[in-house]
Symmetry: C2
Subunit: 144 residues, 2 copies
């Protein structure tokens, strides 16, 4: 088994070394050994970092993401939990799609002020509907 030095992970994935150490400190990734002082990572960690980065882009906090992995770094979610996550993602996608349509319309709309355009307002209402239950209301600490 060939392990990866932190520098190799940095080179291959593009996050800074301090970020990787931070991720390890809060438990979202782990190193499997030391070479002298130096952390050694399994090549798997690159896949895991992809997962983390995708999760972050989807609006999950590192804490939430960390909870999705088992002690050995394997994704550990029940089928039901995963279906739930997929639901959340799809809801988020619907909202973003509505927003994208809204922005497209605004770009083409003739009204000099978009807030006056009824179609814009209707689209906007759609884009914002049912947002209460997502990142916004949880903890109210930052949202997104």
């Amino acid at each position: 088994m060939k392990f990866l030095d932190i520098g190799e992970v940095v080179a291959q994935f593009g996050l800074s070394a301090s970020t990787l150490r931070y991720y390890e400190e809060i438990g979202v990734i782990r190193s499997v050994a030391r070479h002298g002082l130096r952390r050694q990572y399994e090549p798997q960690v690159l896949t895991q970092l992809s997962l983390i980065s995708a999760g972050k882009a989807a609006g999950f906090s590192l804490e939430e993401i960390g909870a999705m992995f088992g002690p050995q770094g394997e994704p550990q979610l029940s089928r039901e939990a995963m279906h739930n996550k997929a639901e959340e993602l799809e809801a988020q996608i619907r909202r973003l799609s509505a927003l994208a349509r809204t922005v497209r319309h605004a770009a083409e709309c003739q009204a000099e002020n978009q807030l006056q355009c009824p179609k814009f307002r209707r689209l906007l209402r759609l884009a914002t509907r049912r947002e209460q239950h997502n990142r916004q209301s949880r903890k109210t600490t930052r949202a997104s």
Copy 2:
């Protein structure tokens, strides 16, 4: 013209009063008058808050969002800028869709450890591709 008290905005939109004051302080919304000490908002502000909340859900910072409004609170983006925003949103949507598909697959996949499943890894690579140019690399301050 009927103006809204901060409490009415809170009641109708669901953000806290301190958040509204904060938004005003950093310039993403504005109040148009005072009644005694009390801020008075135009009803328009509700639409604007929808826009802000949608933008946040899409991963824009309040600073970026603030830059999308003119001094009177009207959305002020060139057609080109709006098309660009729409592109960004659609790229984000594609990534989220790939992620959602990945999660769905993981939920149904028979492999006991998803990281071993080749389809999962391929989906994951798709979900993460070309992510460099988004929120991640800007300022590196928080990402997501």
